[in-house]
């Protein structure tokens, strides 16, 4: 069978859900961040998949999905930097990176 859009969409969905699982159920803050990175990559796969399968002129020449993916990568990198800086700052203060123990806003 030839490749269809559905292949990439399903791949993206699976990756997204795995990333979500990692983000929700991991105790280490950096593991949560890794889950988020997986989610972002899943979205990228989907975007570029849409871009490839777009045959409608003139929009197909705009490569919108790929541009979107560039920006996602950009922002994801920036976000990773800031997030890791925060994690290190928290580690310095509290000697832990366990997100389960950071619950000042609880009842």
């Amino acid at each position: 069978m030839g490749l269809t859009l559905n292949h990439f969409l399903i791949l993206g969905a699976i990756l997204f859900c795995i990333g979500l699982y990692g983000a929700i159920s991991k105790r280490n803050a950096i593991a949560v961040l890794m889950g988020i990175e997986i989610m972002l990559n899943a979205v990228n796969v989907t975007m570029i998949g849409f871009s490839f399968f777009n045959h409608v002129k003139p929009y197909s020449t705009y490569l919108t999905g790929q541009i979107f993916a560039i920006f996602i990568i950009t922002v994801a990198a920036a976000e990773a930097a800031v997030a890791l800086a925060m994690i290190i700052a928290i580690y310095r203060k509290r000697e832990t990176v366990d997100v389960g123990e950071i619950d000042i806003m609880k009842w």
Partner: protein, 175 residues
């Protein structure tokens, strides 16, 4: 099955497997290494989809910078006395499992049964005009002042990066 499909399946399996390893391995450094594999395989997918520039960017930035960042952070935030289980799961992992399964099933169901604006079958994408490759085209789309371009988002993205740099410095300061 033709070559493209075969390559897709191989890459896809490794991709999903490495994602599961990221989430499932007990040692967080092992998870970080699995993450590198994941980024690389994602780049492979992009190549398959005629997005070479994006693939290179993915390798450069994700597999290069982001993973280094993560490894440095792991190094700086080690908890002494903890040897093997550095990547535990919390108590609600089974709820997360259920939610993710449901969500995944519904997304897949929606994606496969709803009509799409784009074609579902690929053909050689007459997307690029003759004589231009993907890099040139993306350059045109990002920087061109006169033709249709995404120059404004580009400028804003640079601003975002600036803010992120300053923010990271400020937050990560020792005082």
């Amino acid at each position: 099955m033709d070559l493209a499909t075969l390559i897709f399946w191989i890459i896809a399996v490794i991709l999903v497997g490495s994602a599961l390893m990221v989430v499932g391995l007990r040692n967080i450094v092992h998870s970080a290494v699995a993450l590198i594999l994941l980024f690389a395989m994602a780049a492979g997918i992009y190549v398959l989809l005629d997005a070479e520039f994006i693939a290179i960017v993915q390798i450069l930035i994700y597999a290069g910078a982001v993973t280094i960042l993560i490894l440095f952070a792991l190094m700086l935030t080690r908890i002494t006395g903890q040897q093997s289980r550095t990547n535990p799961t919390n108590k609600q992992w089974w709820i997360a499992l259920v939610i993710c399964t449901l969500l995944g099933v519904s997304i897949i169901y929606a994606a496969t049964t709803s009509p799409h604006a784009v074609a579902t079958v690929g053909s050689d994408s007459g997307q690029l005009p003759a004589g231009i490759n993907n890099v040139v085209r993306i350059g045109q789309l990002l920087y061109s002042p006169t033709q249709y371009s995404f120059v404004l988002p580009f400028e804003i993205a640079s601003l975002v990066l600036l803010v992120a740099i300053i923010g990271a410095i400020v937050i990560g300061r020792e005082d």
